[in-house]
Structures are given as C-alpha cells and as structure tokens.
Amino acid sequence: MISLIERETTRKGWMTQEDIIDMVSLAESTPGVIAVNSATFVGCKVAGFWGALVATVGVVLPSFIVISSLFFVLEAFLQNVWVSAAFKGIRACVAVLILNVSIKLVGQLPRNAYTYIVLVCVFAIVTFTNISGIWLILLCAIIGIISVFISNRGGRHPHPVDSTLPTTDSTQDKMHGTDNKEHELLDNYDSSLSNTVASKHNSIDSALLTTDYTWLRGHNQASVDNELDSSVNLPNEYRDEHHTQCEDSQEHNEEDKQ
C-alpha cells in the first residue's frame, strides 16, 4: 500500500522522496493502522486538517463499502453446507497466516533477554487469563521509557536504542542497497521510479526498526541536492565522488553517535 501511495503522491507533486521517508517512519512508529496513518500524513501535508480528514475518509471508504456489501452475502451463504465446509478449511489456514507474520516480525526484534521475557510472559497472560492486552502493551511502553531514563542517568550499559547503530553487517548491506538505488535513480530518474520504490522501502522499514533514522534523512538530502545540481547523465568520476561522499557521511554519523 505504501508503494502505491508513494507512486501516486510523487507523480502529482504532493510529496518528495524525503517526505515519503518521514511518512513511513512516522506511520510505523505511531499507533494505528499504517495505511491510515500514511494517508493522514499525506492529507495533512497537502492541505492541512481538512486534507487529512478527506484523505483518511478516502482510504477507509472502499473497505467500508466492500465489507458492508459482502457481509449480507456471506451471512446468507454461511448456512450453505459447501460454503461452511470451505470456511472450515480456511480457518486452519488463517492460523498459519498469522503465525507466519508473527514469526517474521519476531526476526526483526533485537535478540536480548527483554524481548524473550516479554514475548513469553505476555503470550501466557493473554492466552490463559482475561487480562486485557492493552494494559500489558502500556506497561511495556512504560518499561521502555523508564529504561531509557535510567540509562540517561549514567547507567553503565548503553541502552539498546542507542547501541544499535548502523554499523552491524546487516544494516551496512542495507545502506549500500539504498546507495545503489540512488544511483539507479540518478540514471533513469523519470522512467523507473516506481520500480525501485518497493525494495527501497523494505530496506528503510527494517532499518527503522533497529536504527536511528536521522542518518537516512541526511543521506537522502545529500542525494537530492546532487540530483538538483547535476544533469541526468553523470560522469563516472562524479559517481565515485558521490559514493565516497556517502561513505564519509556514514562515518560522520557513527562518530556523532559515539
């Protein structure tokens, strides 16, 4: 959905690449439905409060119409022996789908004691008691805030939020991935923008989970400037320069962190 939003809004000139990065990071880190968050952001950017309202209604309305018209069809057909047999099969499949998504998301969490303890405890409490999951989420948010607070007060160990700098192997790869994408962008800027969008966002999304995203914004700003300054067909020396520039800014950021 995000790649669709990006394609439509950049084509209409509502958003820049940098706006998209802001949008994704905000939509991921604020509560609520990601698609709705993104739409609200775009609306707000283009036309303030009323823009946000219109965009939100716009993104929700198709769901509403489709589901409310399907509902009565489904209600009628579920009495049918064959349909209910089909849904009995589907139910087994739904469990598989949620399980696969959950496993994928666990892979993106930092591997430490806190993660595992919370996973097990919250799972057990929610499955076997009536305690609302909302309270547990709230509790965990408070634990997270307190832990940052303690590490600010001169704790001996750096907080995981700080320590996951973009220096680990996986994020390094992702950075180079993004870098290559920028080169592609420069090469055929107006023809194949949409193709690069999806993969670019995958790398951005996962990078955001573990890292501070300010380096990304800086990096992107640099490349946007370069695009403005130079023609589309770049000489090779320029590319090398561009590349080393990026590496420099990486190192810069790492130094800043330390």
Partner: protein, 204 residues
C-alpha cells in the same frame, strides 16, 4: 449501550497497536471473542475475508465486527450503524495521533523516550499476535475449549482433521517458488478448495 462499547473498544485497539493490521488481530480477538460479542469461528472467518478483500486488514476487520455486532442487535439498519461506529473508532486514534505527530515531526521521530516506548512495546504487540494464533488454533482443534477457563469437558471434541490441515498448510506456506512464498490469498483459496473436498465431499 453496545455501540458506545463497540466504539470505545475499537478506539482502544486503534490507540494501542503499533505495526498495523495483523498486530491488531490479537487485541481484537481478545476484545470481541473474549467478551462474547462475536463467536470464535465467525471471527476467524472474518480474518480470512478481511485478508482477501482490498483495503487495510484492520479497517476491514473493524467494519466486519461492527456489522456483525449491529446485525445481531437489531437487523440491517443497525448493522450499518455498528459498522460505522467501529470503523470510526479504529481510525480515529490514527487520525488524531498523526495530526499531532505531523506538527511535532522533527521532535517526535528522534525523541529518545518515544523510541524507548516503541522498543518496550514491540515484543508485547508481537506476543499478542502469537496469543491470537494460539487462540485461533485451539478453537479450531478443540471447538469446546475456552482458554481462559479450561475444564475436562473442553477436550471432549477433538478435530484432528483440522490439526492435520494446519500442519499441511504451514508446510505449504514455507515452500518458496523462485524465492517467493505463496501469496496469502492464494493460500486461502487453496484452503477453501481443500475444505470443500475434505469436509464437504468426504464429510470427515
């Protein structure tokens, strides 16, 4: 007042889930199935429909739940009221929070405490998803089981066919063709066909 209850529940769900659609399933199943508003089997059907129709899955699901709750209460007109209330409820927190976050963009995204809170919340949200899997699976295998009040009678019905199907689908969903996993909607389609064959034709 069921509509107010519906609105507040959806609002809370929208306000406390980070990570969108699937993350909300955990809270939703706890809130709606746990409170008896929706019966368990129907809720799983809804997830399948929400997944295979266009639109954000969480919004689809909220609309569906609202529709069902309203319909149960008083027929067609009330169903639409229920759906409207539930949809607005789940979307409103997104809208409000995003409006505020947009104004505070630079402060919000790089704030240490915001990151700390997110860091704290993520495992809990994912644990809720696993809890949803467990609830769905146990409900499919033991139709009489209520996980929050387990008794001996809960295990009297044991649907081993569904268990076999679950394991099979899990294996199939792991198969990668040219580096790509099978699309969820394709998997749902296959499972419908398998369901018709196994439960309909063979009537196991």
């Amino acid at each position: 007042m069921i509509y107010l209850q519906l609105f507040l529940t959806c609002f809370k769900i929208g306000l406390f889930t980070i990570g969108g659609g699937y993350a909300m399933i955990g809270l939703m199943s706890q809130a709606f199935v746990g409170s008896g508003l929706i019966d368990g089997a129907m809720f799983i059907n809804m997830i399948a429909v929400a997944e295979s129709t266009p639109g954000p899955i969480a919004v689809n699901l909220a609309t569906f739940v609202g529709m069902q709750a309203g319909y149960k209460m008083g027929g067609v007109g009330w169903a639409y009221l229920g759906a409207t209330v539930a949809t607005i409820g789940v979307v409103l927190p997104s809208f409000i929070v995003m409006l505020i976050a947009f104004r505070l963009l630079s402060v919000y995204a790089s704030n240490k405490y915001v990151k700390g809170a997110l860091y704290g919340m993520r495992p809990a949200v994912i644990a809720l998803m696993f809890a949803a899997v467990a609830t769905v699976l146990l409900l499919v295998i033991f139709p009489l089981l209520d996980t929050t009040a387990i008794t001996v009678q809960s295990f009297e019905q044991f649907d081993y066919v569904s268990l076999i199907l679950f394991v099979t689908f899990l294996a199939v969903s792991r198969i990668k063709i040219k580096g790509r996993a099978i699309h969820p909607i394709a998997l749902i389609g296959c499972s419908a066909v398998v369901g018709i064959i196994v439960f309909g034709l063979l009537s196991l």
